[in-house]
Symmetry: C2
Subunit: 113 residues, 2 copies
DNA sequence: TTGATACTTAATAAATCACTTAAGTATGAG
DNA sequence: CTCATACTTAAGTGATTTATTAAGTATCAA
């Protein structure tokens, strides 16, 4: 439906799959080849490559091929964007609770009206 | 494929859609009815209800029906879980950069070997 | 040159997703 | 009782996703 999915769409979608999260967890510890990423996963190599494509499309991961080995690494900016969106929601949520608390302090015997 | 999707699967999947994020943004400011959530969205009410079901399945949102109105509210725990997962990745990432920095300080004229 | 390694591409197939329309039910107001 | 409101349920459709197998290419090692 969407002509172009937003960065947040792509990032949250990428993180919604356990295999892709496992890949991100591994890459957060340092770069790895495609086969290294594939080894702990119970799926074919082409499936892993497709997951990698999703991660790269989201900007979470970048890769570079040297010789016959493709080395993948985290690209932390995309994750920061998702983190920031969540933080904003938490900020809204907490600001509301603060206002609610202030309001209730004015009426210690229950809600007015 | 998965018999049961994990909490993180459900949460990140829920956040991967712009309509659902819009609903979460609205609910982070305070509770709202289904129609209030639907009003800014360019889709039918049943579509909104389906999105709401995804949000509830993930635990991000809860709702309660009083009279003919269903009131929805944020349930911040699920989002904290996602936030925590991201923070752990960032922590791994930064720990690795620190180690890398310490290592390089020992060899100011470039990588050994 | 021969063979193994490390991907890469393509062509499916099954399942899920994000909608839709066309109904329905329950509640509240007059 | 009647009507509008506020959902709710069901059924169906087209697009996307996630996997598969069967091929291919490029590099490196001997």
């Amino acid at each position: 439906m969407a002509a172009t999915a937003s960065q947040l769409d792509l990032t949250f979608h990428a993180l919604a799959d356990p295999a892709r999260r496992a890949m991100v967890e591994r890459l957060s510890l340092g770069p790895a080849s495609v086969s290294e990423l594939a080894k702990p996963l119970a799926m074919s190599l082409p499936a892993v490559v497709q997951h990698l494509a999703v991660l790269q499309a989201s900007g979470l991961v970048a890769s570079e091929k040297i010789g016959r080995t493709r080395t993948c690494r985290m690209e932390p900016t995309a994750m920061s964007l998702a983190e920031h969106w969540i933080n904003q929601r938490r900020s809204d949520w907490e600001r509301r609770l603060d206002r609610l608390g202030e309001h209730l302090k004015q009426f210690p015997d229950g809600e007015p009206q």
